[in-house]
Point group: D3
Chain length 195, copies 6
Amino acid sequence: MDDHPISRFPVPDLADLPDDIADMLRGVQEKVGFIPNIFLTYAYRPVEFRAFIAYHDALLEKQEGLTKAEREMIVVATSSANHCHYCVIAHGAILRIRAKDPLIADQIAINHNRANLSPRHMAMLDYALKVCKASETIDEEDFKGLAEHGFSQDDIWDIGAIAAFFAMGNRIANMTAARPNDEFYGMGRVIQTRD
Amino acid sequence: MDDHPISRFPVPDLADLPDDIADMLRGVQEKVGFIPNIFLTYAYRPVEFRAFIAYHDALLEKQEGLTKAEREMIVVATSSANHCHYCVIAHGAILRIRAKDPLIADQIAINHNRANLSPRHMAMLDYALKVCKASETIDEEDFKGLAEHGFSQDDIWDIGAIAAFFAMGNRIANMTAARPNDEFYGMGRVIQTRD
Amino acid sequence: MDDHPISRFPVPDLADLPDDIADMLRGVQEKVGFIPNIFLTYAYRPVEFRAFIAYHDALLEKQEGLTKAEREMIVVATSSANHCHYCVIAHGAILRIRAKDPLIADQIAINHNRANLSPRHMAMLDYALKVCKASETIDEEDFKGLAEHGFSQDDIWDIGAIAAFFAMGNRIANMTAARPNDEFYGMGRVIQTRD
Amino acid sequence: MDDHPISRFPVPDLADLPDDIADMLRGVQEKVGFIPNIFLTYAYRPVEFRAFIAYHDALLEKQEGLTKAEREMIVVATSSANHCHYCVIAHGAILRIRAKDPLIADQIAINHNRANLSPRHMAMLDYALKVCKASETIDEEDFKGLAEHGFSQDDIWDIGAIAAFFAMGNRIANMTAARPNDEFYGMGRVIQTRD
Amino acid sequence: MDDHPISRFPVPDLADLPDDIADMLRGVQEKVGFIPNIFLTYAYRPVEFRAFIAYHDALLEKQEGLTKAEREMIVVATSSANHCHYCVIAHGAILRIRAKDPLIADQIAINHNRANLSPRHMAMLDYALKVCKASETIDEEDFKGLAEHGFSQDDIWDIGAIAAFFAMGNRIANMTAARPNDEFYGMGRVIQTRD
Amino acid sequence: MDDHPISRFPVPDLADLPDDIADMLRGVQEKVGFIPNIFLTYAYRPVEFRAFIAYHDALLEKQEGLTKAEREMIVVATSSANHCHYCVIAHGAILRIRAKDPLIADQIAINHNRANLSPRHMAMLDYALKVCKASETIDEEDFKGLAEHGFSQDDIWDIGAIAAFFAMGNRIANMTAARPNDEFYGMGRVIQTRD
């Protein structure tokens, strides 16, 4: 068991948090079984916490366009490029579950070029990594290439916006040294039989 | 006059926007004289717009701790590292005004090492640029160094959070090719007489 | 299940391999339950295979000095820096087993700075990554620093030699697009009860 | 007002300079209203000063081929890539004046990809930046591409030679910490009415 | 004469080495006139020495496919990219001799793009340097490109394997600060008359 | 013998050059035995040629302060960092002759950290390479460090100015693909007996 602190900054008690945040965290705990440490880390700043969650849900929980698994693929690829311990572990778990694929998260994190991906997904991640690492060089060719793979204008915004949002999230997690919960490492590693 | 489009993505009419956003934009126009193009760019996505503004104001308009000019110094330094056309121009203007210094924004944008800064401000920007460019290497030495310059724990969070937030904002502006309003370029370049 | 080919190059049948290599592979299969794909990839070149195995065992199976878990930590850290899909997955599994720690491999692969490591192990990996990425800048200070952490001259050779050996192995695996066996991903993720 | 020293090295008095240099500087002062600090910085070394000015004028004041504004575009783009405080500020002013465009210098300095440029000018700056940053990779394709945009052999020499000359000038300014005169920051920012 | 030590690590006496290694070194001395220092450096570790030599000879002394001069071109190009003092000097000498060309080694070491090479050899070195510097991005296009230049599957393995092998050898030489014998610098610099 | 063209640009006949340049080149030919190709390359632009030579001689032929060998060490180190084929070969020859050391040029070109240098010369080259590669980060610590090694203010200017001047020269040579004369490769490789 990892006994490093959750964050370099003070971690508030649930009892000291504003009601809306405390309620939300209790809801997560009930549903998932534990409170992801990034929530406790971020709760040090309630106003920022609320904006972060609102933004996060708008991009990651959206029903139209990209699938939820595709959204998590973007998170894992860009978080790995940013060497974000918290996000690769936590979103790696979510990706395994949403994609029902126990191998994909590690493959994307280590080298997306070697991952077992369709050309469409490869193009999606190539663009996401360009937003992550060299957004100043994005040009019309990038947009044309994505359109040729069937991505709509809204999809293209989403790919880029998720990469941009985690450019922020990765830096917050890195500056706070946020520690991922031990539970995430093993989640989704066994394919459930579905009969 | 620059007649490039404001954004690569559709720019909504004020009349088509949700009331709260349209009202906010009209308020800005009244106060500043024009609507910053990034607002129109972002309004393509109302839910993300609201989260962005809430987050932005929490970090940039905060009264305690860092001064507003210091906050804008961080924005300009990191936006320049990300080659973000929109943010360097727009926040350069805001920095000139808030710092009452017509030279500082260009100095920081080109090479903060050569800017006319106190050691305290140099340390602040060095850390902000580390969050911007190599957040995975942040360590306790960074925190100690900032504390020695008199930055509180809350200040340190703010410096890093602003750098992280613009890691996102810069990428959104770069992916949308958001064009800064012509007005920004010249704002704050003449020192007001102070009598 | 991943059904990509094992290697970009032809993969020999066991029946067509020289006896010593075929026997060795059958022995591994019996012991581990499967033949690691890198062996089949490398067996395309029997003479190189034998030299590779002899070198590998001299560095990874050595009894004196560094523990076997320490040796695998070096492999995982440098293989991740080289984005080697095969080696991070396969040696991540071996590291989890040898360190009896289900979390350490992912931590080191993503960002060794955030891993739960002693200062001694941090210094060991810092040096290994210097050999991996900037060996032309190694100097006496590096050797002094390692000695202060208690590493002997022979340990220092071993750390560097393992990093150098996997500089080769990672490139062979990357150029052959060697695919790690699915079994590796999940190995060592559950801590065995020890009563 | 910036009261940093003009240069890290001694700055000679006009009275102590050789006559030809003192006369030249007095001529500039009369014409422009002030002596650009780089001249005083460079005058520490009269022989080098004369060679520098001769070279500079051959490349920047040439009448044939590239326009003077185009030449300054190259200076600003490459000086920004070299983070040269002096040259971006001083030549940014000259570019605004020569191009009669108050926006172009900042656009090119921040990210020439987002500047309001013709494809011809974009190709010109792409090549100049290749000379600036990766001249060892220049090949025949670069020359063909420039020719297709209508650049003559002499133009291509000029683009490259200006980029190369400022590779030197930027480093001299950076090593001397040459401070741009305050006057440069605001020059050319207001479009003159043209009636 | 360079009187730096041969290696940072202890250099064994021939008398203390296992017979097979001592005999091999005496054979080399007889044939070449001196014992290359890397052999003495490596002999600190007899088991690794034997594996290194076996691997080296399998790749560099092979009769089929690539010529011996081509193999040395790969060594010099990649060793220079790794700033390996020992290997550029020693294999530069061997390349001059095997290619019967006194200029080629320096050309390849400084900038292979400017070397006097056929398109086939340029493609060979481009691929070798990709294995050296960015093996994680190798893809099918690389293999197709090499095939178009007439390289067989076995040749492609050899090019990559030599680059990979010297990724190891360069790091061993750099970490030991192995000093090349003075004799190597001048070898092969005079073209022998061929009558 | 290398039969590539001397330059990508037209190379003028001596007969067509202005008298002062033609005379100078004839003088060099008489003294050295051949005309260095860079002179013929540069003579395409007589005005730039004269400025280049004046600047070059001011920095490289200066009698006070740094020795001529030290000046050439700076040229070789920075030209190698810029992968300048012409300058490493030509100035490597001059360095061997001026330093009366047949090994030093190759050592510095490949990895100055491994060259047989005094701490003073190591500090000199470290600073020169900082001017070459990261001049925007030069600070007072650099100047103090050089002073501690006994370098005067004028020496420090010279080190930096030579590195800056070859930042230009290397780029001109690279953009023209200037070919070094075959004679340079072997010059100074045999130590003259000194009786």
